[in-house]
């Protein structure tokens, strides 16, 4: 597996030797990862791979057993208020105050931030049709999630972290949400970290993708490059192995049997009578890299 990507640009976000265990189960295992600024990065991993743990540790909401997380050069465990105000977070389960109404909730959060874009908040609240004076506990899951997104965007964060933000949105709601992210990228050049298992959404907005498996970032690469350099090989195992070696490909799939997903440095090699070559999709890569 290749090393996590290392960019010359100063990193907004850096995880160093991060380990987190729940009892005997190691979720993150000496994980190293750097994120460039101004980029939309998709974090991919299967259920239980540790995406939420990674995000929570990154934001200082969970203490690592070893290693450290840095945000804007500060340890996540002790973020100054002004740094905290530059971050927006949409948790997987919105833990909003259920007895408050959306209007009350937003007024409450507003008091914490030096910056608050009221026009944006009002616009999103009407456009996304969120009832303003119903207790939040009475809103649907989708509406609660939308409200959580409004709350995270209101203070115009430089870093936006979204943990499965679209899980309870229908396709139209996901589309609205993606448009909003696009706006965010155009207007504010925000850095966005976005975990999801809905690959089609990720493909539209992510420039980089990172695969979390076995407690580490197995691969972090620009999505376009990855798609252009990856192939799905079919045929008898021995033939495929010879083919991989001949063309100096790097096999990415770990499971025995099934198609082999491989990555090369040059042009896509031509198929032979015994080995079929197709371009790999993000789904192929996801299955291969997170097995």
């Amino acid at each position: 597996m290749s090393a996590p990507r290392n960019d010359a640009a100063p990193s907004y976000l850096s995880l160093q030797g991060l380990s987190v265990a729940f009892g005997a189960q190691r979720v993150l295992d000496r994980l190293d990862w750097q994120l460039p600024s101004g980029q939309v990065v998709g974090l991919l991993g299967r259920n239980g791979a540790g995406k939420t743990t990674l995000i929570e540790t990154l934001l200082g909401l969970r203490e690592p057993d070893a290693g450290q997380a840095l945000l804007f050069g500060h340890a996540s465990q002790a973020l100054p208020d002004d740094v905290r105000a530059r971050i927006g977070y949409v948790p997987q389960r919105s833990d909003l105050f259920e007895w408050l109404t959306p209007d009350q909730l937003l007024a409450y959060f507003r008091s914490f931030y030096p910056r608050w874009n009221d026009a944006k908040v009002q616009g999103l609240m009407s456009r996304w049709d969120i009832a303003r004076d119903k207790p939040i506990g009475k809103l649907s899951g989708g509406q609660q999630q939308r409200l959580s997104i409004v709350r995270a965007l209101a203070h115009e964060p430089e870093l936006l972290v979204l943990d499965e933000p679209v899980a309870s949105l229908d396709p139209a709601g996901r589309r609205d949400f993606l448009s909003e992210l696009v706006d965010q990228v155009v207007d504010r050049r925000s850095t966005i970290l976005f975990s999801t298992h809905i690959l089609s959404d990720l493909e539209r907005v992510a420039v980089d993708v990172a695969f979390l498996t076995g407690g580490r970032i197995a691969l972090h690469a620009p999505l376009d490059e990855l798609l252009e350099s990856s192939v799905r090989l079919g045929g008898v195992q021995a033939d495929i192995e010879r083919f991989v070696e001949e063309h100096r490909l790097q096999a990415l799939s770990r499971e025995a049997g099934g198609p082999v997903i491989a990555r090369g440095a040059g042009a896509i090699p031509a198929p032979t009578p015994t080995v079929s070559v197709d371009r790999a999709t993000l789904e192929d890569l996801f299955l291969a890299l997170t097995a």
Binding site: V40, R175, L178, S179, V182, D183, V185, V186, L199, S200, D201, E203, R204, V205, A206, V207, L223, D224, L227, E228, D278, R279, A280, T281, L282, E283
Partner: protein, 132 residues
């Protein structure tokens, strides 16, 4: 008035989104739907309309500019380049279609379908879209 609805993207494809966009402009220029001086939508409008990352749209436009298909006019609008006044010859257009049909032919063989049946289906599909 540039119309973003000329473009569409498919997620889940092995072809990156920026390449899909480049190929669509190439086809529209070859077919004469886009001609010299026609404006492309702005990066922002197209990114919004397709819900894709604006950097992806910029990348596609950059590639089209490098290919000489479009030029950047003062301000920021991209327009179809001067030399593309007319649709390309039918032979050139057929060449552009070939890779897609080659892929389809490969699938026909894998499915062991008789050629006549595959061609009949292609005809039906062509007519379906005509009616739209």
């Amino acid at each position: 008035m540039p119309d973003p609805s000329l473009f569409s993207v498919v997620a889940g494809s092995a072809e990156p989104i920026y390449r899909q966009l480049v190929a669509q402009v190439r086809r529209c220029v070859a077919g004469g739907q886009l001609k010299a001086g026609d404006e492309l939508p702005s990066v922002r409008d197209l990114a919004q309309a397709l819900a894709v990352n604006p950097m992806t749209v910029s990348k596609a436009f950059g590639l089209l500019e490098a290919e000489g298909l479009v030029t950047r006019r003062r301000g920021l609008a991209m327009v179809i380049a001067e030399q593309h006044r007319h649709a390309q010859s039918a032979a050139d257009r057929v060449d552009l279609l070939r890779p897609t049909l080659e892929r389809a032919a490969q699938e026909v063989r894998q499915l062991q379908l008789p050629a006549a049946q595959a061609l009949a289906l292609f005809k039906t599909i062509l007519n379906e879209n005509e009616g739209e």
